[in-house]
Amino acid sequence: MFAYLIRRLLYMVPILFGVMLFTFLLFNVVNKPEIMALNILGPKADEQTIATWLHNRGYDKPLFFNTGEGAFYDSQFFHTVRQFATFNLGVSDATGEPVSAMLKRGILPSLLITLPAFALGLALSLAISLLLVFVRESLLDFWGVVLAVATMSIPITVYVIFGQWVAANLFNYFPAFGFNLEGLSTARFLALPVAIMVISGIGGDVRLYRAIFLEEVKADYIRTAQAKGASGARVLLVHVLKNGMISIITLVVASLPFLIMGTLVIENFFGIPGLGNMVVDAITTSDFALIRANVYVGSLLFLFGLLLTDLCYAIADPRIRLQ
């Protein structure tokens, strides 16, 4: 197990290097820093302003190898690699603020939305899918699936706009926008975005989990359990749920690390100052340093999620061996 872990961690190194190279090519070579400077400084910026701006951020250095004066590694690429290898995420191009400080600031608001939405979404979709399995092949089951497909097909922005209009503007239950850390009543800012996230994601999950559980219900051990006199609820909640969870865990765990990264649309529309909002901001202002750092952190989290999934899989299902 330990050797496996080390090996997997070492695999990450070339992948991360690839990510660095790819993002560097994308943001320093394909998209030139001059253009980014224009985007940040505005259309009125002239040549001298742009040159000074590029110089102060090292964007006027050679791309890969320095063939002029100084060390050969005094280049934009080596600078980026050195930064990321030492987990120094640099400073934002647009505001000059350290990226690590911006990340730290955004994690809590993001988690306050994504964690409850994740937990609530998982619990609800498990409950509903079990209910549908419980009443399978009935009219309720049929309409349940139809509803699930319908909720899946609607884009999230529609939920957001509709939710803001109905719940916040028509019925006036919640603030239509905003976020304030104010103890327990912070919940009033979170309720609507969390509800929208849960509702928009629930359809797909219900359909999937229902399919997984239906497979299990047909298995031999269920018939055995029933024959032994287990009640309907016990069969579902103990036997079906437990065995179905093996497949579900692998799906769920991989998404865990991404909870930190927040959500783009929800945070943007509700003004939640999380990491998703930061990414949208970085893209609209062409803040390449911030985008680069986000891509890097995102890929780290992704790799970490994959590793976590494999480990959980092995723990949940003893038949699986890690080689």
């Binding site: 102060n56 000059g96 419980f134 009443v135 916040a168 503007n169 239950y173 943007n268 003004g271 100052p273």
Partner: protein, 665 residues
């Protein structure tokens, strides 16, 4: 009979789980009802002022966080809204005088004295008001803001020249302010700026008097002295807020001498400004308001500023939530976005009845901006053929474009200068901006393309129009532009560009014709527009992207730029205007009109466009009582949807349970 180990099956009155959930449900319901408070704003800092009168807050919104609150750096509208509250300049725009705009002293005691030197150079002598203090801040001894002196202006002009500060207007200012270019170049060479060495831009006469030295006569310098770029900043603050040891950077922690000081800036959420208790640089004007407003403004004459105690600027990027908050009374003002235009504005361009009844008022303000279709004057086809350009100008139906794409609200542009700018002539009619297809075709024949046919190839003339295409709306616009030009039976190819690619093409002169060009006034003077066509301003160092070069125009520009306003200057401006119209390097399209709404409790003070982005906020008054009443009325909670929802859930569960009773798993 009961078997051992099994429980008797007895019917139960309630569902098995409910007894356990009861408390949870009650708790959730209590939480929900207590949370039914939809005010998104943080609480005001105080309930009342020290004298017992109510503490008044203004609620506004910004589209994004400002990039920087350093007055020597900030150059965007968003930044300006905040910076112009915190920093005060030597001069300011008069609140009421808009045609033309007029400067008046702010931190300065009076308008500056102009001194002419024998070598052709010019200086301005400014005298400061006494007793003006910077905001209280920890960077000062005992935290008390010190007095603003002439030495602070020496420091400001040093900062402008410091490459590390990245002042975006340095390249303009160094053309006419003594010593800036040299100081910048030396700092570039040595890698750091020497703040102990004077730049030569300013000579301090005494603590309250200084002279600003210019390389040549340049009356527009006074407009620069009304911008935040030249507002005084305390050196102590810049050095104290260095971004280390838990201190913020100066750009995020501004310290100025303006009417408001920064209380907090929660990124992506809110910027909270609070009244500067020591502010006494300016007062409400005692004259100048329109006669019909006498009753409204006379009682305010000479009143202390600012009128409002706190400003909360919420950061709201999307238009939909901002509009919802305005409708709920949680924002004092709103723009009119495309999504809601048709519900808010009637076909006659008035406010629809529903909003009028709520006391909301609509404002229509001409933005001091001109946008146009641009020809590349270095292009061998359009650049060399004046009649061809004129023909295209006459074939372009601006009224129709305005109707389709701008809801008919924009002002048609007949000249380069927008209204309010010195030199704008409201009576001027551009002979080539009258839509006349017949005349346009005649001009095209005279241009050497009769019937649109290029005699060299015997086929229709082919032209390329570069556009910035980001969404379906801009593509529709491009199709319209193409159709306008093709009315002349010439072929117009559309080249779609991303914004970066478009910029690059402009810099390198690769477009033949393009839309998406225009200019927003930095200051309301003709020089700020005519410099767009001065031949020494070609890209990349200047903004003359039409690459217009005309010796007569250049000579007039050089003369006009150095002159004080007067009849002689007006003649030159008119000549330059006629020259541009005749040469037709661009097809003038429009001056945008901006529609905005304000709540009944925020009466409009002035329509001064130069103060619109922020400088006018210190004069604003608010009827807070009316707002409280309106918010209460607009935000009544409904309970029936909750009962409906509970009913649906109960129904589904009942069906499920009944279903389950009928069969086992």
């Amino acid at each position: 009979m009961n078997f051992p180990g099994t429980r008797p099956i007895t019917p139960r009155a309630t569902a098995p789980g409910f007894a356990r959930c009861r408390w949870l449900v009650a708790l959730l319901a209590a939480l929900f009802l207590s949370g039914c408070e939809n005010d998104p704003h943080p609480h005001a800092l105080h309930k009342s002022r020290p004298d017992g009168s109510p503490w008044i807050v203004s609620y506004r919104n910004l589209g994004s966080d400002p990039r920087s609150l350093d007055p020597q750096v900030s150059y965007d509208t968003t930044g300006n809204v905040v910076v112009s509250q915190i920093y005060e300049s030597l001069l300011q725009y008069n609140l009421f005088k808009t045609d033309p705009y007029e400067l008046e002293p702010s931190l300065a005691e009076a308008m500056p004295r102009r001194i002419e030197h024998e070598n052709g150079r010019v200086s301005y002598e400014f005298r400061l008001k006494r007793g003006i203090r910077f905001h209280d801040a920890p960077c000062f001894p005992d935290g008390k803001g010190r007095e603003v002196t002439a030495h602070d202006f020496v420091y400001v002009f040093q900062r402008i020249a410091d490459p590390k500060v990245e002042c975006p207007v340095l390249s303009s200012l160094q053309e006419f302010v003594v010593g800036l270019r040299e100081a910048f170049e030396e700092a570039q060479k040595t890698g750091s700026f020497d703040y102990d060495k004077p730049t030569g831009a300013i000579t301090v006469v005494d603590d309250y008097t200084f002279q600003l030295h210019l390389l040549r006569p340049y009356p527009q310098m006074l407009y620069w002295m009304a911008m935040p770029f030249t507002a005084p900043v305390p050196r102590e603050a810049v050095e104290y807020y260095h971004g280390k040891e838990g201190r913020e950077q100066f750009r995020f922690r501004p310290v100025g001498a303006g009417p408001y000081q920064l209380d907090e800036w929660k990124r992506k959420r809110v910027i909270r400004l609070v009244r500067n208790p020591h502010y006494n640089a300016t007062h409400f004007p005692t004259t100048g308001w329109p006669k019909e407003e006498e009753a409204r403004f006379a009682p305010l004459a000479g009143a202390a500023l600012p009128m409002i105690d706190e400003i909360q600027l919420s950061i709201i990027r999307e238009a939909v939530p901002a509009w919802l908050l305005f409708r709920q009374g949680y924002l004092d003002r709103s723009g009119v976005s495309k999504d809601v235009f048709n519900t808010v504005i009637t076909s006659g361009q008035n406010l629809s009845k529903k909003f009028e009844e709520q006391g909301i008022s609509l404002h229509r303000d001409v933005d001091p901006t001109t946008y146009y279709l641009q020809f590349n004057m270095e292009d061998p086809v359009v650049g060399t053929n004046k009649k061809l350009r004129q023909a295209i100008s006459m074939a372009y139906n601006q009224e129709r474009a305005n109707e389709i794409f701008r809801n008919g609200i924009d002002l048609k542009a007949e000249q380069l200068l927008p209204p309010g700018v010195v030199g704008y002539d409201p009576s001027f009619r551009n002979p080539y901006r009258v839509f006349n297809l017949q005349k346009a075709k005649e001009l095209l024949s005279e241009a050497g393309y009769p019937g649109g046919i290029d005699p060299k190839t015997n086929r229709p003339l082919e032209l390329t129009l570069d556009v910035i295409a980001m969404d379906s709306a801009s593509r529709r616009r491009a199709e319209f532009d193409k159709a306008q030009i093709e009315q002349l039976r010439i072929v117009c190819k559309i080249e779609e560009n991303t914004w970066p690619r478009f910029q690059e093409k402009q810099q390198r002169g690769l477009c033949q014709m393009n839309t998406g060009s225009g200019w927003h006034a930095d200051y309301p003077d003709a020089e700020n527009f005519f410099f767009l066509f001065y031949s020494k301003n070609f890209p990349p160092s200047g903004p003359n992207s039409s690459r217009f070069a005309n010796a007569e125009f250049d000579a007039l520009y050089e003369k006009m730029a150095m002159m004080e306003n007067g009849p002689e200057r007006a003649v030159i401006i008119s000549k330059m205007n006629h020259l541009l119209v005749e040469e037709c390097p661009v097809v003038f399209m429009g001056h945008p009109v901006i529609f905005s709404l304000s709540q009944p409790w925020v009466p409009r003070i002035s329509s001064n466009a130069m103060l619109a982005t922020g400088g006018g906020m210190k004069y604003q008054v608010i009827d807070a009582e009316e707002r409280v009443e309106a918010r209460h009325r607009l935000n009544q909670t409904q309970t029936w949807p909750l009962w409906t929802l509970a009913g649906v859930v109960a129904l589904v569960v009942t069906i499920a349970i009944r279903h389950a009773r009928r069969r086992n798993v």
